[in-house]
Amino acid sequence: MAKPVRARRPRVERFRLRNGLSVVLAPIAKSSTVSVWVWYRVGSKNERPGITGASHWVEHMLFQGSPHYRKGEIDRAVVKVGGSLNAFTDYDFTAYFSTVPRDHLSVPLDIESDRMTRALLEPAEIERERTVIRSEQEGNENWPEFRVAEELGELAFRRHPYRWDPLGFPEDLVALTPRDLREYYRRFYGTRNAVLVVSGGFEPSQVRRQIRALFGRLPTLGEVPDVAVVEPEPTGERRATLSGPGTTPYLEVGYRAPAVQDPGAPAAILLDVVLGGETRLFTVGRGWGPSGEHPSARIYRALVDRGLAVRATTQYRPRQYPGVFLIGAQAARGVSLDQIEEVIHRETGRISRFAPARSEVLEARRKVRRGAQLAYEGASGIGFRLGYFSMLGGERFESDLLSRVLSVSPEAVRAAAERLFPAERRVVVGYEPSREAPNAG
C-alpha cells in the first residue's frame, strides 16, 4: 500500500451527541464565512414505487415551515444576513446547507435544529409544491441527456431503487399524499440519521456549546435505513432507443459498477480517470457537473479527436450500493449511434485486454493526487466534502480511499475493466433527434 496522502485540509473535530447526532467541526481561523451542513442518510434509495420522489419532495418541504420559522422565514432569515442556502437530494442522501458571514452562525444552526424533527409539512403547502416539483422535472425533461439517464436507470436496475431518478416518476408526483410525505419524514429524519458539519470561521468551544444546546435536546429519532433489495447480477445486454427533439444523436452506455466500499472501487475510480479524464471525488467543488474537455483521456481521443463526437466522457460516481459506470457521447453531425457505440466497445475491449502503460497510470494518479491536495477550499466546499465523505464511509474513509486509488497498478486498472465491461453487464441507450423544421438561422 502506498504511504498515506495528506490533502490540504483543515483540522477536524468529530463527536456524537447522546441522541446519536454526529457532529463534524472544521474551524478555519481566518475565514470570514461559516457554512452549516446537515446530511441525512436518506435518499431515493429509501423509496419504493408509489412514493418515488418522496425524499426530494420532503427536501422542498423543509423550507416551507417549522415551529419557529413559518413559511418563507427560513429563506428570509439566512438571505437577509447575506447568506445563501439550498439543499439537494441524491440517491443515497439528502443535504441542506447555509453559508453566512461568520457573525451569523447562530441563524443556520437554529434553523437546522428546528426543522430536523419538527417541519410542519402542511397539506396546503404540499399541494402548492406539487406543481413546483413537476415544473422542475419538466425543465429537466427538455434535455435529451435527462431522458436518456432516466431510461438507463430503468434498464440497469430491475429491482433496486436506483432504478428511478431522485425526482421520482411523474405518476407518483401526481399521486403522493401529504400523509405519505409526513410518514416518510417522521421515519427517516432525526438525530440518529444525520451528520451536522460546521466549517469556516468560528470558535470551536463556543460552537460546541451552541450545538449541544440546540441539538442535544432533540429526541432520538431517525431510522438508519438499509436497502434490503439486492439487484441481481445482469445476465444480458439491455438496450433502448429514444427519440424526440434534440441536436445530434446521443449515446450512453452504462455498466454495473462496484459500490463505494467495494474493494474494486479504487481501480474503477482510476479507470474513470484514464478513460474520461475527470478526477470527480478528488477535485474542487462537487465534481458532479458536466465534464470539461479532457483531450488526453482515451474516450475523448477515440471519439472527439477522430471527428465522431463533439463531446465524450465517462462517469463513475461511486454510490452506497452497486451503481453504474457511464460512457456518454454526443455524435458529430452525420455520425450514427452505431459508429459511436462501436468505438466505445473497442476502447472498453482494449483496456480490458491490455493494461495501460505505467506512465499513463502514473499520470492519472498524479492528477488525482493534485486534485485532492487542492480540493479543500472555502467554508462551503469544505463542508460539502466532509459531509459527503461522511455519507460514504467513516472518519478516515476519504484518506484511505485516496491512498488506495494512488496505489492502483496498471494491471489492476485492466482487471477492473475486464470485470466491468463484459457485454452482458452493459445497458445501451441512444437518443435519435426527430426531424424538425429547419430554421433560417
Binding site: S84, S296, L374, E377, G378
Partner: protein
C-alpha cells in the same frame, strides 16, 4: 487587514503598450492562484460574413500553443493540478488559468503561450467547427436558449454588437479558415485594450515583473476600434410565440436593452433588479410565481450591464398550461418596479442581503478572482467592493424607481414564449 492581503482590493497599473496588469490577494487559507487575460475579442467583433469567428478563436487558443500541442498542454496542466478555460462574451474574450499558488510562474508562462503563440492547427479547427455546429443546433432546440436568441434579435437591430449570440450559422462557420483565425487573433489579442488579472499571494511588483517577462511581443499593440452601436428600436408589444413541440417546459422571457455599467443609474438599477427577480429567494418574482402560487420552479430576473450597453431579462420556466397565469405576474411585477417606490422594509432586507453576500463571493480563489476581473474590466476603483455596501445604502427608493424606468424600459423590450403549446404527457 492590510490592503496587500485584502481580496476586495484590486491594484492595477498600465504598461506603456497599454496592457493593464491587476493583482489581487487570494482569500486567506486558500492554496490556489488564478490568472486571466481579457482581450477586446468578443463576438461583437465578428465580421458579418464570419459570425462565430470570435468564439472559434477563443476556443482554439487553448488547443495547443507554443511548444505544446493540445494533448501535451492538457497533460502539463494535469501534472500541475491546473485548469485552463476560455469564455467569449459579446465585448471581450477571456482565458483563465487556475492552479496551485506555488506554480504561478509556470501557469503565467502557459497563459502567455496561449495568448501570444496559439497554433491553430487544421485538425483542431475542424473539431471546434463541429462543436460549434452542435451548439448552434442546441440554441435552436432548447426553449431557454431559443427564447434568448429570439429576444436578442427582436430587441437589437441588425449590426448591433449584442444582436447575435456569437455561435453563428452553419454557413458563416463553414466559411472560417485558418487565415481568418490568424488575422482575428493578431488584431484582437492585443496589449492595448487588454488586461491581465492575477490573484496570488505574491506582491504586486513581483506579479508585474512576472507578467512583463511573459507577456511581451504582442503582434499588434493597438486595440481594435469599438463596433458602431445602432440605436435600439421600439419593439412590438405582441409576444413572440415559438412553438417547439415535444418539449415539456415553456420558457417565458421578458427582456430588452438596458444601461451600461458606467451609467449613473447603475446602483439603483442593480437594486431594482434585485427586488424584481435578482435576489435569490427574496425577490418578488420568486415569491409570487413560486412561493405564493406554485407555478414554476424558476422565476428570476437579471441585469447585465456591459461597457457599451446592457440587457435585462425577467424569466420563468413553466408548463404550457400555466403560461396564462405566469406571464401576467411577470408583466405586472415589471410594471410595479417601474411605477412604485419599493417599501423601506423590503428594500432593507434585499439590500442587506446583497451586502452580506460579498464575503461569500471571496470564499474561494475563483470567486475572488471573478470580482477582480470585474473591477479591472470595467475600470472600477481598486476598493470598489469595499465601498459597495456604502454605495448601496445611499440609494433611495425614489432613485431605484427612476433607475428601473431607465434600465428596464418596456418600450424597447419584448416578450418571447418558447416551448410546447401543450404538454407531451397530456396526450398519454
Amino acid at each position: 487587514m492590510r490592503d496587500d492581503n485584502d481580496p476586495l482590493i484590486v491594484r492595477r497599473s498600465e504598461r506603456s503598450d497599454g496592457l493593464v496588469v491587476a493583482r489581487q490577494a487570494p482569500p486567506a487559507s486558500t492554496a490556489s492562484c488564478s490568472a486571466t487575460y481579457l482581450a477586446p475579442a468578443g463576438s461583437a467583433y465578428d465580421p458579418p460574413s464570419r459570425v462565430g469567428l470570435a468564439i472559434m478563436t477563443n476556443h482554439l487558443v487553448t488547443s495547443g500553443a507554443g511548444s505544446r500541442d493540445r494533448v501535451t498542454l492538457a497533460r502539463d496542466l494535469d501534472r500541475l493540478g491546473a485548469t485552463l478555460q476560455a469564455h467569449c462574451h459579446p465585448e471581450s474574450a477571456e482565458v483563465t488559468v487556475w492552479g496551485p499558488a506555488e506554480v504561478l510562474s509556470t501557469l503565467l508562462s502557459i497563459l502567455a503561450d496561449v495568448v501570444l503563440r496559439p497554433r491553430f492547427r487544421g485538425e483542431d479547427l475542424e473539431r471546434v467547427r463541429r462543436q460549434l455546429f452542435e451548439r448552434q443546433m442546441r440554441e435552436l432546440s432548447q426553449p431557454e436558449s431559443r427564447a434568448e436568441r429570439e429576444m436578442l434579435r427582436a430587441v437589437f437591430p441588425t449590426g448591433h454588437p449584442y444582436r447575435e449570440t456569437g455561435a453563428g450559422t452553419h454557413t458563416s462557420v463553414s466559411r472560417i479558415d485558418r487565415n481568418d483565425l490568424i488575422r482575428f487573433h493578431r488584431d484582437h489579442f492585443t496589449a492595448s485594450g487588454a488586461q491581465v488579472v492575477v490573484t496570488s499571494p505574491r506582491s504586486g511588483p513581483a506579479i508585474l515583473s512576472e507578467v512583463n517577462r511573459r507577456f511581451r511581443d504582442f503582434e499588434r499593440e493597438t486595440s481594435p476600434p469599438m463596433p458602431t452601436l445602432p440605436p435600439t428600436r421600439r419593439v412590438s408589444a405582441t409576444p413572440h410565440r415559438i412553438d417547439m413541440p415535444g418539449r415539456s417546459q415553456v420558457e417565458i422571457l421578458l427582456g430588452g436593452a438596458s444601461i451600461p455599467r458606467d451609467a449613473p443609474e447603475f446602483a439603483g438599477a442593480f437594486l431594482a433588479n434585485e427586488v424584481l427577480g435578482g435576489r435569490p429567494l427574496l425577490s418578488r418574482l420568486f415569491q409570487r410565481v413560486r412561493e405564493a402560487h406554485g407555478l414554476a420552479y424558476h422565476a428570476s430576473s437579471e441585469l447585465e450591464a456591459m461597457r457599451w450597453g446592457g440587457l435585462w431579462m425577467a424569466q420563468a420556466g413553466t408548463g404550457p398550461e400555466r403560461i396564462a397565469r405566469v406571464l401576467p405576474i411577470l408583466s405586472s411585477e415589471l410594471e410595479r418596479i417601474r411605477s412604485e417606490r419599493v417599501g423601506s422594509g423590503e428594500l432593507d432586507e434585499i439590500r442587506e442581503s446583497a451586502i452580506g453576500e460579498i464575503p461569500l463571493g471571496v470564499e474561494t480563489t475563483s470567486g475572488a478572482h471573478d470580482l477582480a476581473v470585474e473591477v479591472t474590466y470595467f475600470g472600477l476603483a481598486p476598493d470598489f467592493f469595499r465601498r459597495w455596501p456604502a454605495t448601496l445604502r445611499s440609494v433611495t427608493p425614489k432613485e431605484i424607481q427612476r433607475s428601473a424606468e431607465v434600465a428596464m424600459d418596456s418600450s424597447v423590450a419584448c416578450t418571447v414564449i418558447a416551448g410546447p403549446s401543450r404538454s407531451p404527457r397530456a396526450s398519454q
